[in-house]
């Protein structure tokens, strides 16, 4: 049975923070895990943030993991919708 893992990003999903988030996220990936990423603290997002989420999705799929975005703020949701991306958003803030 898959393990559940929940990660909360404590800040924005922008080009200024992605270099900081990515190594931590990558380190937390373990095969056969259901990963929930809480974006409750992410008030802003840009294309660098979207790109990192896409990267994260690819890496989770490669590890047979599932990925869910939780507590997504409207600002973040707006860009995901603009980009027509279905990122497995489970809940909005």
């Amino acid at each position: 049975m898959a393990t559940h893992c929940r990660i909360e990003l404590e800040g924005d999903l922008t080009v200024h923070r992605v270099a900081e988030w990515w190594p931590r996220l990558l380190a937390s990936l373990a095969p056969d895990t259901d990963l929930s990423l809480s974006l409750a603290s992410a008030a802003r997002i840009d294309s660098a943030g979207v790109q990192m989420l896409l990267m994260l999705r690819r890496e989770t799929v490669a590890r047979r993991m599932s990925l869910r975005l939780e507590d997504v703020r409207p600002e973040v949701q707006a860009l995901l919708e603009f980009y027509r991306l279905d990122m497995g958003v489970a809940g909005e803030v």
Binding site: V18, A48, Q51, F82, L85
Partner: protein, 592 residues
């Protein structure tokens, strides 16, 4: 006083005159053959040329009206409009107005141009009904009704995100130009996790944008990031077709492929610059067309069309018939010189033959050359008679509508050539006789049917050579002239005594008397008694004449005789140019 003084002005005047005459003639043909796409093509080219020249002269009123006309023609050409749905009369009205505007400008009459402002607006409104274009200035933003879906492909240099240039920002701005129908984010370029640099941009995008904007407007959205992004803009199918038509309709002259594509809006200036840079930096020589296609700046189909157009332009320029205006005196002088040369050559030939001197070969060649030179000079002086009928088709069409009649004009032998000067005078004469025939001769369709004639009247003009004269028969199948009516009218006007006896031929001669008319109603067309006397005067001034024969109920035939002009007579009769009288020769010697 004319303002059309310098070469540029007079060149515009002459070119616009040619284009307007062409437009009118093509429109009349289109009226008869509404399905002929080649006509729409030729019309579009002509309107486009006119618009271009007016634009270069800064004549915005003419340019705008030509643009409105061109828009309708473009729709006809693309098949979006059916010719049968657009009354040719509306298009002819635009041509007439353009002619007035050009005329007013050539007279240096800016006040006159302003007088036509309201009329211009009215005509543009009429034309706009066929194209949904509001009659506004040409630089106005296109209406959303024209919106079409573009496909845009975008990728960015890795460093853009670090520079604070977020693709999302620019993509959002596209929405100002229209509606983003679809947007796809491509992440295929994302590297393996170990090589991934989160602050680098790996994403690319495909956007379906519904907009009426053009390529340059779309490119403008990315102006800030232009050097760091790769933008491919694929026009909507309809725009692609329009671009193809625009390429084909381009006026001649522009030779460089990239410039040609920029001019029609197929590529932007920036794309041209980039392609040229790519071409210059390439290891192997490539054509600019290949570079543009490879870079995704333009579709291969458009490049092919542009290449064809280029080849066409070159071919036309190589074989272009240039119209030159030369003083008549110079031509006559040239003719005299050549004539003398030929004469001398023959004399020498004769003497050489007598003395046994072996100059025969060269002299024969000289003779041939001189003969050719005479032929060339002849062509410069002559024009086909059909030129005299240029205004006739339109005039007859308009008059037939005004009078509620139907008529068909057929010309035979119009390829015969006469002196250029005679053509102009003959044009006036012919126009008058044709209008007269339709007004007085041809009956209404109902009247014709009542007497067993076809509804549509017929005017036949046949031309033939008779010695060194030109004979023109202008016959209608109308009601003919009633000599008895002529007699009564002449008696009323005191031209004939009531008890005098006159032959039918004598009575018919009355129609050439000044101020004589049998018309019951004075119309704009005829019936003012100014006309047939002028026709005869004109022909007599050209040392010709006009006579008439008629059969009551069957029709009337005017027979015009036009002798060759002095210059012509040295040249006529199958190049047997030695048939020249002493008087003419002395004139030529004098001129030489």
């Amino acid at each position: 006083m004319s303002v059309a003084g310098d070469d540029f002005d007079s060149s515009f005047l002459s070119e616009s005159g040619e284009q307007l005459a062409l437009l009118e003639s093509l429109l009349l043909q289109l009226e008869r053959n509404p399905d002929d796409i080649a006509l729409a093509d030729a019309l579009l080219r002509s309107a486009h040329t006119l618009k271009g020249s007016a634009g270069m002269m800064g004549l915005s009123a003419i340019e705008q009206l030509a643009h409105a006309l061109e828009s309708v023609l473009e729709q006809l050409r693309s098949g979006a409009l059916v010719a049968a749905a657009v009354p040719v009369s509306d298009l002819l009205v635009a041509v007439d107005l353009l002619r007035k505007l050009v005329g007013s400008w050539s007279l240096g009459d800016p006040a006159g141009l302003r007088l036509y402002e309201a009329e211009c607006l009215r005509v543009q409104e009429t034309l706009a009904r066929y194209t949904d274009l509001a009659p506004v200035r040409m630089d106005a933003v296109p209406d959303d009704a024209d919106a079409e879906v573009w496909t845009l492909e975008l990728s960015f240099e890795p460093g853009v995100l670090r520079q604070g240039l977020d693709p999302a920002y620019f993509l959002h701005h596209l929405a100002h130009l229209g509606r983003i129908v679809d947007l796809k984010v491509h992440d295929e370029r994302l590297p393996p996790a170990a090589q991934y640099q989160p602050e680098d941009c790996y994403l690319s995008f495909t956007v379906q944008l519904e907009t009426s904007a053009d390529k340059a407007d779309i490119e403008q959205v990315f102006a800030f990031v232009r050097s760091d992004c790769h933008l491919r803009m694929h026009p909507p199918a309809s725009r692609q077709r329009a671009l193809l038509s625009r390429i084909r309709a381009l006026p001649e002259g522009r030779q460089r492929l990239a410039e040609l594509l920029v001019e029609v809006g197929a590529i932007t200036d920036e794309e041209m610059r980039r392609a040229l840079a790519l071409q210059a930096s390439g290891a192997h020589p490539r054509s600019i067309g290949e570079v543009l296609v490879d870079a995704g700046f333009v579709d291969a189909e458009l490049v092919s069309a542009a290449v064809e157009k280029q080849a066409d332009n070159r071919a036309r320029q190589a074989g272009e018939v240039e119209t030159v205006r030369v003083p008549r005196e110079s031509l006559e002088e040239l003719l005299a010189l050549v004539f003398n040369m030929a004469q001398v050559a023959r004399n020498v030939q004769t003497q050489a033959g007598r003395g046994g001197v072996s100059l025969q070969g060269e002299l024969e060649a000289m003779d041939v050359l001189a003969g050719e030179a005479v032929g060339t000079a002849r062509r410069l002086l002559m024009l086909p008679v059909r030129e005299a009928f240029r205004r006739s088709h339109r005039a007859l069409r308009d008059l037939a509508r005004e009078l509620g009649k139907e008529v068909e004009l057929s010309l035979q032998g119009e390829e015969l050539e006469v002196d250029r000067l005679q053509v102009e005078r003959l044009g006036e004469v012919v126009l008058h006789l044709l209008r007269n025939a339709l007004d007085h001769g041809i009956e209404t369709p109902a009247e014709r049917e009542a007497v067993g004639k076809p509804r549509c009247g017929r005017i036949t003009v046949s031309l033939q050579r008779d010695g060194d004269s030109l004979l023109m028969n202008l016959a209608d199948d109308g009601r003919g002239i009633d000599p008895e009516q002529l007699r009564q009218r002449a008696v009323e006007r005191g031209l004939l005594r009531a008890d005098a006896c006159h032959s039918e031929a004598e009575l018919l001669e009355l129609i050439f008397s000044p101020g004589f008319s049998t018309a019951r109603d004075i119309t704009r067309v005829s019936g003012r008694g100014v006309g047939l006397d002028v026709v005869r005067e004109t022909l007599r001034a050209l040392r010709g004449d006009v006579t008439v024969s008629t059969t009551s109920g069957t029709g009337t035939c005017f027979i015009l005789r036009l002798p060759a002009s002095a210059a012509q007579r040295t040249l006529l009769a199958d190049g047997s140019w030695l048939v020249v009288d002493q008087t003419q020769r002395s004139i030529h010697y004098k001129a030489a």
